[in-house]
Amino acid sequence: MHIAEGFLPPLHAAAWTAVSAPFVVHGVRRITQITREHPDSKLLLAGVGAYSFVLSAIKLPSVTGSSSHPTGTGEGAVIFKPPVMAALGTIVLIFQALLLAHGGLTTLGANVFSMAIVGPWVAYGTYRLLGRAPFSLAVFFAVALADLATYVVTATQLAMAFPDAQSGFFGAWSRFLGLFALTQIPLAIVEGLIGVLLMNALRSW
Amino acid sequence: MSALALHGVSVRYGRDAWVLRDVDVEVVAGRRLALIGANGAGKTTLLRTLSGSLRPTAGEVLVDETPLSFKRTALTAHRRAVQLVLQDPDDQLFSADVHAEISYGPTNLGLDPDAVRARVAETAELLGITELLTRPVHHLSYGQRKRVALAGAVAMQPRFLLLDEPTAGLDPAGCAALLACLKRLEGAGTTVVLSTHDMALVWEWADTVTLLDAGRAVSDDAGNLLGDADLLRHAQLDRPWQADLLDAAGLPVSAADRPRSRADVLAAALHR
């Protein structure tokens, strides 16, 4: 779920950019290091980035509206580790902002934090925690929880920017959570199910 | 008589130029139709329109003289009857192994598992790929992948099979094997339409030819159309060598009973 261009007040936009920057810089260093050792990995990373972008253009079944966040960051984090996804996810989010008008430059920091940092870390952490569980179960929870975490973070970011006149942050938070629950919870479940089918297919070749 | 047809079909993508303009095409059951035209003339678009996967901007797709409504149930029936195989097999193969790929359509038709397995075995037998069934798709050669993609469509047992450049990239032996497959399918009652750049193949194979030139279509008996050097030149195509040879030998090219095989053409031209 992308926060639209200009939606966050200037201070919030700047703050989230500052929060995300170190993660992205670390990811960029990591990628630079990897590509120096293996030049061909540049092409593979680009392939994964292009894939992630293309997936946001594919309509998922039984969900109203298409998923607009870079799908596959959860699966990507399991395969490539979160720092790489922070940098790669940033590229994909910039492409979505520029080519699809999903998100924007001023909200890039906030969107990177929810989708390219928190999402991948939750996916990776869940997958590692469920290391002894059946593969399908671990993947399902990794992907679904990453989706849910992304959505909770976005609601938090909005609630911090727009606290309720009376009930403050928590009033606004429950409202933003409720507003997007309608689309995001079914989406998380469907993506989790598809993530399992996808990772099983990947393992088979 | 015609079983599958386009009537007054025009197609454009968004606000780009028209790809097809007021096209009429008739696919007659049991007659081989070859679709020819330069790159970008609209061949793939025409095949997509026939298959129901592309709704024309204007005009109608007719099945047994009934216009296709593009409603869900009508489309489902249409897709059972008409299958399209794309040029690049990699645009079409989406399963991990060959068996899964071929069984996809029959499973969606709602057949029970045993019937699906029987259908897959039968299709693989027909196309000579039985020994590939247990192999992963990405380990196959280009020619093998083309045959598996074809098998996925054939397993639907369509009345009409549309093939976009089926011989492109195949070696002569691969082409011969493909043509033999198509002959067996025709024997089982399937009508085949194919598009190709290989004019010599069109001469040998086709009964009827539809020529696309900048979005407009001309159809005729293969002999007549392939003999018309001016028409072909205008469409940026070459005449098949067979037509040139018969012409140079002073023989008529348009004859409905034209010699088709290479041996027959050579015999006709040299022993006049």
């Binding site: 092409l43 994964v48 894939y51 594919i58 998922l60 924007g104 727009f162 | 996967s53 299958q83 990405h138």
Partner: protein, 261 residues
């Protein structure tokens, strides 16, 4: 027929970027205007000034760059759903209405400050989105990437982004073709079948991404690829009058924005 891309495919913004009248203007010229107005939009408070900013951007997009109006309209309305829903959620409180409530209906009500804040947010968001779109609707991605390289963005990231941009069209095409094939074989008839179909579509697309990337690597190796993808872009002249005029417009609106805060 064409083996790959169908002409005219891809995102609408991309099509506009390659076909408008400002296409060959240098990135610097358009960036000064677009990003300048984006900063002004963020600093602006009154709605009328946001409206004025949107008007300036629309004039640049429609009159200056001659982007086709229907295309521009479609693109400009893309973020509207989020903006409207989000602003509504920020404006409406739930619970017992306060004494200064502007309106109330059952448990729903709004404080004047919340409404004011939402109006400002909608204005800021629309103005900022239009400013950014002025750049994206008129500038091919390859020009932006060249500019990013000049601006000292790490070369590795610029090169990966360039490869992503090239490959995404190849993948869009394959994904579209696989989807059409699955539909033709009745793969979206029920929710359960559809879910399995989407999963195999996704894995086929990922496999394509992987295979394509490997083959591209092999292709590049034959051309001396050793890690770097340095190219020479076309020469672009910077129009000083255009930059000057843009700077004046941005500065003037910026001054008004600061004075009206």
């Amino acid at each position: 027929m064409t083996v790959g891309a169908r002409t005219g495919s891809g995102p609408a913004i991309d099509r506009a970027a390659w076909s408008n009248r400002w296409r060959d203007r240098s990135v610097l010229e358009k960036a000064v205007l677009s990003l300048g107005l984006l900063v002004v939009a963020m600093a602006t408070r009154p709605l009328w000034l946001h409206a004025a900013l949107v008007a300036v951007c629309l004039a640049a997009i429609l009159v200056g760059a001659r982007v086709e109006p229907r295309l521009a309209a479609r693109v400009l309305t893309l973020p509207v759903t989020f903006i409207v829903l989000g602003a509504l959620a920020a404006a409406v409180s739930i619970g017992h209405p306060a004494s200064d409530a502007v309106w109330s209906f059952g448990p729903f009500w709004s404080a004047p400050a919340s409404i004011e804040r939402s109006v400002e947010t909608v204005g800021r968001s629309l103005a900022a989105a239009s400013a950014l779109m002025m750049l994206t609707l008129t500038t091919p991605m390859t020009d932006l990437l060249t500019a990013a390289r000049r601006a000292k963005v790490p070369a590795t990231m610029v090169e990966i982004a360039g490869l992503v941009y090239r490959m995404l069209f190849v993948l869009l095409d394959v994904a579209g073709n696989v989807r059409a094939t699955q539909e033709a074989r009745l793969g979206y008839a029920s929710a359960r079948i559809a879910r399995a179909s989407v999963a195999s579509l996704l894995s086929a697309t990922l496999r394509t991404a992987w295979v394509r990337a490997q083959r591209l690597g092999e292709g590049l190796e034959g051309r001396g690829f050793d890690g770097a993808l340095v190219v020479t872009p076309r020469a672009q002249n910077v129009s000083v009058p255009f930059v000057g005029l843009s700077a004046c417009v941005v500065l003037a609106l910026g001054v008004v924005a600061v004075m009206t805060r």
